[in-house]
């Protein structure tokens, strides 16, 4: 732990000392009478400083989830208060940046130790540094956690560091999304049982999915630029844009319309109308930006660009000649043939022009309503729709070109156009199992398939027939199994009445036997009920231990088997160095060693259970499957090494 930096500051008008460690910010009152304040740095979400030169030099810190409510307001009191505050701010900037960027997520992120590397601190320090390192923090800013963490490390070249950082961010995101995985990670990696790389080996698919999901960016808004600026925008509570662009417009009740030109709006205008960009580039330093836009929005060019049939809000009188924009005026694109040059060929099955030319001299005159392009004023609008949609489509594609193509383009073969898929005798489609969160439940439901597997329907039917006939034919014949009560008047029988005595003894034997049988059945019933009865829950501590032991064993098993079994062809990460036979063999041995320890761990838990007066058998029974799996793996390992030896 590096030493804490201390500054004099008051909190709620109580003088005290504000101290900053690598991970925490704390305030301790000098005189008591006030609670200490301590917060983790990685929870700082915002800081607000008083204006430079104001009477007090204060800093308001806000934390995630607004806990503590309202944040903490410190006022620096030392002579070097400005510098103090600056120093605190410098330390906090990266954390604030990181917290702003990350979506509100699980509170305690576990960090991969790779970045923290051989960080001197324990877990939490590593976490802070990994999470808190923002993308833009310049290396070498004194006091930032990242530089502290890096200080002890050998110098990595920038590209490598960048890649590692990205990988780490990715892993952190995956962990945040899967609490169970995070738990496992904490136990195994942070608990130093296996290395970071080993942990992630075989989980490439998860990372990949996360990467893809994260890289997806919202595209261009699809609305078309027009002049329906959202006048009611301020009033409507949802702030939803109805219709037009609705970008920053303020209207004074009777006065002129005031437009607030935002960056987004200009970008949109430039994209939609390159001529405006051209005009802007040529003129703007010369005339002021405000002037430029005012003139644009009152020009005839804008009137054309709106391409709306509706009357403009500006009346004819207020529009004047404009030497900048009028130069760009051209006739509206409302002829039947578009002004834009069209490519000559499209796929034959979409080629409408070919059909038009196919009939030679076209003598048919269509009636007025069916002559396309009669309503000339709406043609430029329709063309703009098509262009705009095409632009949006292309905008989506461009991203693919730089990265990788996310959606494979469908090859439009001519045969595909005429194919009837259902007329092909297709095999029944294989069911795709849904990705169920808890896979165990699904496995339970699976069970053995069918009744008496291995027999065909006829056999089953015959069996059922026989059984049902048995039941149908059954008739109760109690006399054959139950002796009549020899309610003999001479009871107990006379000693000499041998026959009666024999009958009686048989009867009494039967009666006793019945009673015993009844008791046995009752006892069994009670016992079986007791078996099903809900046992008192295991104490949390023991359950926790069991879970942890099981999780660890499972992870080791996963690692072990993935090292032993041949990698699936086409699996992510296959063929890298981590998959060379030597590495794999080494890992298998290592994992086997870990697995050998499992039994000991289970025994330890059993002992703990005994101490805690919990039935140790229950623990054993619960851990039995785990142990079984482990023993299978160990047997296999013995065989393997045995063969090798």
């Amino acid at each position: 732990m590096s030493e804490a930096r201390k500054f004099d500051a008051t909190f709620k008008k109580v003088p005290g000392v504000l101290s900053l460690t690598e991970t925490h910010v704390a305030w301790v009152p000098t005189a008591g009478g006030m609670d200490r304040q301590q917060q983790a740095l990685n929870r700082v979400s915002n800081m607000l400083a008083s204006k430079a030169g104001s009477a007090r030099t204060s800093l308001m810190l806000k934390f995630k989830d607004d806990v503590p409510a309202g944040g903490l307001l410190f006022t620096f009191t030392a002579a070097s208060k400005e510098a103090d505050r600056q120093a605190v701010q410098d330390v906090l900037i990266p954390f604030v940046a990181a917290n702003r960027g990350a979506p509100a997520a699980a509170p305690t992120p576990a960090a991969p130790s790779a970045v923290a590397g051989p960080s001197t601190g324990a877990g939490p320090s590593g976490i802070a540094s990994a999470v808190g390192t923002p993308a833009g923090s310049a290396p070498g800013t004194p006091g930032t956690p990242s530089s502290v963490a890096r200080a002890g490390k050998r110098k990595l070249d920038d590209g490598d560091a960048e890649a590692r950082r990205r990988a780490n961010n990715l892993r952190v995101r995956v962990l945040r999304k899967n609490p169970t995985l995070m738990l496992l990670h904490r136990e195994l990696v942070i608990g130093k049982q296996i290395s970071e790389e080993e942990f992630w080996d075989g989980r490439e698919a998860l990372l990949k999915a996360e990467e893809l999901a994260y890289e997806q960016r919202p595209g261009r808004p699809s609305r078309l630029l027009d002049d329906r600026f959202d006048i009611a925008g301020n009033k409507s509570k949802s702030g939803k844009i109805q219709g037009g662009t609705g970008v920053g417009l303020k209207k004074v009740e009777t006065g002129p319309i005031v437009l607030n030109i935002t960056k987004d709006l200009t970008r949109e205008i430039f994209e939609e109308f390159p001529v405006v960009q051209d005009a802007y580039a040529k003129n703007v330093p010369r005339i002021s930006e405000t002037d430029f836009w005012t003139r644009y929005f009152t020009s005839t060019l804008w009137e054309r660009h709106r391409a709306s049939v509706r009357k403009t809000a500006l009346d004819e009188g207020s529009r004047r000649k404009d030497d900048i924009f009028d130069a760009y005026l051209e006739d509206p694109d409302w002829e039947t043939a578009p002004r834009k040059k069209m490519p000559d060929n499209v796929e034959t099955y979409l080629d409408l022009a070919a059909t038009e030319e196919d009939h030679g001299e076209n003598l048919v005159i269509r009636d007025v309503t069916m002559q396309a392009g009669k309503e000339r004023s709406s043609l430029p609008l329709m063309r703009r729709f098509n262009d705009h949609s095409e632009k949006l489509l292309q905008a989506g594609k461009k991203k693919d070109a730089t990265g990788r193509s996310t959606i494979p383009m469908v090859a439009d073969d001519l045969y595909d156009q005429i194919e009837y898929e259902d007329l092909r005798a297709a095999a029944a489609p294989a069911p795709i199992p849904l990705e169920v969160q808890d896979a165990n439940e699904r496995d339970d439901a699976d069970g053995a398939r069918g009744i008496l597997p291995g027999r065909n329907d006829d056999e089953l039917l015959a069996m059922a027939d026989i059984e049902s006939r048995k039941i149908a034919d059954w008739s109760a014949d109690f006399t054959s199994v139950c002796l009549a009560n020899p309610a003999h008047p001479s009871y107990p029988p006379a000693a000499d009445d041998m026959e009666a005595a024999a009958t009686f003894s048989t009867f009494s034997f039967q009666r006793d036997a019945q009673m015993v049988a009844g008791r046995v059945v009752r006892d069994m019933h009670v016992a079986s009920n007791a078996e099903d009865a809900v046992l008192p829950p295991l104490p949390n501590a023991i359950l926790e231990q069991m879970r942890s032991c099981h999780n660890a064993a499972t992870e080791f098993l996963r690692q072990y088997w993935s090292a032993i079994l041949p990698a699936a062809p086409g699996a992510l990460g296959a063929g890298t160095q981590a998959h060379s036979p030597q590495v794999r063999a080494a890992r298998a041995t290592k994992m086997a060693r870990y697995l050998e320890g499992t039994e000991g761990k289970v025994n330890a838990i059993v002992t703990t259970a005994e101490i805690a007066r919990v039935d140790p058998d229950r623990v054993r029974a619960a851990m039995a499957p785990t142990l079984g799996a482990v023993s299978v793996a160990l047997r296999r390992e013995k065989l393997r090494t045995g063969v090798k030896a």
Binding site: L363, V368, L414, D422, L423
Partner: protein
């Protein structure tokens, strides 16, 4: 799979078959055997083309007559698809070990689409390409160019063809239009002339039905086709329109200088060059062509003077500022009165002009097209006195003030154009997804079909949901009726249907409007109401524009948006460019919305004249015809969403008039049978709820491999055939019981009864037997 229909083995390139396809093929075979015509309505997207081709190719190759197949389709995309079907069918037949040696299948389209000459094909207009091509390839140009190389520009692609043997210009097999262009590029030959010259040698020719119906084109292109050929009109709901299309439009302004030029270049020469294909007489009757050209136009200067007089007369007529409609007879009478022009020389106008142009060896014929038009018009007006009408419209629209006179010479009787086809070819098959009601066609086109059938659609689950939306969520009735269509409430309600469906339906949504005019006005209205911005939140928006290529690009983008999951809406027009020939199957169209009923423009004088003609001659009421036509187009539009039985889609009819029984009954049976009463009068919100439910349901996993109901295996076919045989035998037995065994014609079953009365009964019994044999849809 391979199965037998009677004695004919049919090879079908799939392992499964729809029951509709089987019945369709059976009926086709019956028609071909009987050598007659038929009208068949087959549901959209149930594999009509592939059934047609596989049966007919099997038929052609099995029987020794080797009849040819002329397959007429509407649009180039459809021609290309039919060619691809044929190509794949032939590949399949080869796989199955059938040797179709020397089998050739080709498609034909215009020069504009086929030309490889970079000088010529850069022209935008098809007509210009045609005329430039003729300049380079006409026989006199060729002759002179070959005699004296370099003197006349020739087309090397065309010249290259001479190095090949006649009839062997292209290897055997099937070539799609793209294939043949590629082939032409490789070998440096002209694809267009390759096809044209191969026409007598091909087994299957696929082209637009204009090549058979338009007499001018037909004479050049389709003359050599033998009378035995089988003719198919696919998507034939348009042939009525095709046949109706000889409309004459003329603007006589620029004519004068044209023929001045002609006169100045006049020279005497009288050699004839018969093998040219450049211009043809637009008239059909053979006997007329044999006649000699009348004396008074035999000399060139006389002919020019004659034409001049005729044009002067037309100009005078067109100065009139009110609408004139008259029959050809009255026109001719008036003409004679004023200019002393007789009917007979007029008849030969077109031919005389052709020979004059040929004599003068004129090039750049495009410049003379107006003159050719006039001559063609003269010939037509003098030849046909029945079934045609002349209409002069001085103004383009009702409200126009500047005269823009148009002289229409319109054909009222569609049977005129198709009559020669029926006469000439023994089997004409008219087929489409939408020609209900079936009896209308034979009536209008005046022929007697052997078989006339509409097949229901068998479905194991309801793959499409037709809904009729009659009012908006605010209960205001919606309609595209002229009086209310621009009512803001209606426009907004139409818009909210689009918004709601764009929100609900995945992937592609296609919307059709009744006319371009309406679409153009409603699109800007929607934009101003902010409706389209709402649509944009869910899907991209594309609109059909007047330019075909522009629309093709929009379509391409639309399909891309559907493929990559973005989803898109396409706004287009019924009867427009997109509605014919472009399929919106699978994800390209999960919903079709028909905004309003696509009625024709009833104010059109031509339409009025035609309706009158139909009423007077065929007793078809105007309203019936209009509704029939409109519903057919509506069905055509919505039918575009389905292809195959695993495909699914919503069909939304948004107009309160669709709820009326008289409208709905004119929809094809396969659509109408799935419109329930509950779904025939919905408001927008109810429809959206239903749509959501339907989409949820249809997205459940479903075993599409189950056969027997809507999908047959070979066994199912055999089972059906066995059943049919049994029915037939039972019917025969019952008849024997009723009338006593007939010994006269011995054979079991079949048509052996000569007596007409008995035959009637025979059919009654047959029907009853069929009904008894659990024949679910056929009642």
């Amino acid at each position: 799979m391979k199965f037998m229909i009677d004695d004919l083995p049919v090879l079908f390139p799939y392992e499964r078959l729809y029951p509709e396809q089987y019945s369709y093929m059976c009926d086709l075979k019956k028609t071909l055997d009987a050598g007659g015509h038929c009208v068949l309505e087959m549901p959209s997207g149930t594999g009509k083309t592939v059934s047609l081709l596989s049966l007919i190719v099997s038929y052609m190759q099995f029987y020794p007559e080797k009849r040819k197949l002329i397959y007429c389709s509407r649009t180039v995309p459809e021609i290309e698809k039919a060619l691809a079907e044929l190509k794949r069918l032939m590949e399949y037949r080869e796989e199955m070990g059938v040797k179709d040696e020397g089998f050739r299948g080709l498609g034909l389209t215009s020069r504009k689409n086929m030309c490889l000459n970079p000088e010529v094909n850069k022209e935008k207009k098809g007509k210009v390409v045609d005329s430039r091509c003729r300049d380079l390839t006409s026989s006199y140009a060729c002759e002179r160019g070959r005699a004296d190389p370099g003197s006349v520009p020739l087309c090397s692609w065309h010249e290259e063809l001479n190095n090949y043997e006649t009839g062997e210009l292209i290897p055997e097999g099937v070539f799609t239009l793209d294939d043949i262009k590629k082939y032409g590029q490789e070998k440096g030959v002209c694809p267009y002339f390759t096809i044209r010259r191969m026409m007598p040698y091909v087994d299957v020719i696929i082209y637009s039905f204009h090549y058979l119906l338009d007499p001018k084109v037909a004479e050049q292109v389709s003359q050599e086709l033998s009378k035995e050929a089988i003719v198919i009109f696919d998507e034939a709901h348009n042939i009525g329109k095709g046949a109706l299309s000889w409309v004459k439009a003329s603007d006589a302004q620029k004519l004068t200088d044209e023929y001045e030029k002609l006169v100045s270049g006049l020279r005497e020469a009288n050699d004839h060059n018969e093998e040219d294909d450049l211009l043809a007489n637009p008239v059909l009757s053979d006997d007329m062509i044999q006649e000699a050209i009348p004396g008074n136009i035999r000399k060139a200067e006389h002919f020019i003077a004659f034409l001049k007089r005729f044009i002067e007369y037309l100009k005078t007529r067109m100065r009139v500022l009110h609408v004139v409609a008259e029959t050809p007879q009255s026109f001719l009478a008036h003409l004679k009165e004023i200019t002393y022009i007789e009917k007979r020389p007029l008849q030969f106008c077109a031919e005389r002009l052709t020979s004059l142009i040929r004599t003068l060896e004129l090039t750049n014929l495009e410049e003379h097209s107006a003159l050719q038009k006039i001559a063609g018009f003269a010939t037509l007006v003098a030849t046909y006195d029945k079934g045609f009408l002349l209409i002069l419209e001085p103004y383009e629209t009702e409200h126009a003030t500047v005269p823009n006179p148009i002289f229409h010479f319109t054909c009222l009787d569609p049977s005129l154009a198709i009559a020669p086809v029926f006469e000439r070819f023994s089997s004409v098959i008219i087929t489409s997804g939408t020609i209900s009601p079936l009896d209308m066609y034979p009536k209008i086109l005046q022929f007697q079909p052997v078989i006339q059938e509409s097949y229901p659609m068998t479905l194991t689950r309801n793959a499409f949901l037709p809904m009729v939306i009659t009012r908006g969520s605010d209960q205001v009735p919606i309609s595209s009726r002229f009086e209310v269509r621009n009512d803001p409430a209606v426009v907004r309600n139409f818009g909210s249907i689009l918004i709601d469906l764009a929100r609900t339906v995945p992937d592609g949504v296609v919307a059709f409007f009744p006319s371009y005019l309406y679409m153009e006005s409603i699109v800007s209205a929607w934009y101003d109401m902010g409706i389209l911005s709402e649509v944009w939140k869910h899907k991209l928006l594309f609109v059909e524009t007047p330019d075909a290529m522009e629309t093709s690009i929009a379509l391409k983008n639309y399909r891309e948006a559907c493929n990559n999951g973005r989803g898109a809406v396409l706004l287009s027009v019924a009867r427009g460019k997109v509605s014919e020939g472009i399929d919106f199957d699978h994800n390209y169209g999960r919903a079709v919305i028909m905004f309003g009923i696509p009625y024709q423009y009833t104010e059109s004088r031509i339409l009025k004249a035609r309706l009158e003609f139909l009423r007077d001659n065929h007793r078809i009421r105007e309203n019936d015809y209009l509704t029939f036509d409109a519903m057919r187009h509506a069905a055509q539009c919505v039918g575009r969403v389905l292809r195959g039985k695993t495909d699914w889609g919503l069909m939304v009819f948004a107009d309160k008039r669709f709820a009326r029984q008289d409208k709905r009954s004119k929809l094809p049976r396969w659509i109408n049978q799935y419109i329930t009463d509950a779904h025939s009068n919905l408001s927008t919100d109810m429809a959206v709820v239903l749509a959501k439910k339907f989409i949820r349901q249809i997205s459940q996993p479903f075993d599409h491999t189950q056969t027997g109901i809507s999908l047959w295996t070979l066994e199912d076919i055999e089972e059906r055939q066995r059943k049919d045989r049994e029915d037939l035998e039972r019917a025969a037995e019952e008849m024997d019981d009723a009338f006593g065994p007939t010994t006269a014609n011995g054979a079991a079953g079949g048509a052996r009864i000569d007596d007409a009365d008995v035959e009637m009964d025979h059919f009654d019994i047959d029907d009853a037997a069929l009904a008894a044999v659990d024949f679910p849809e056929d009642v």
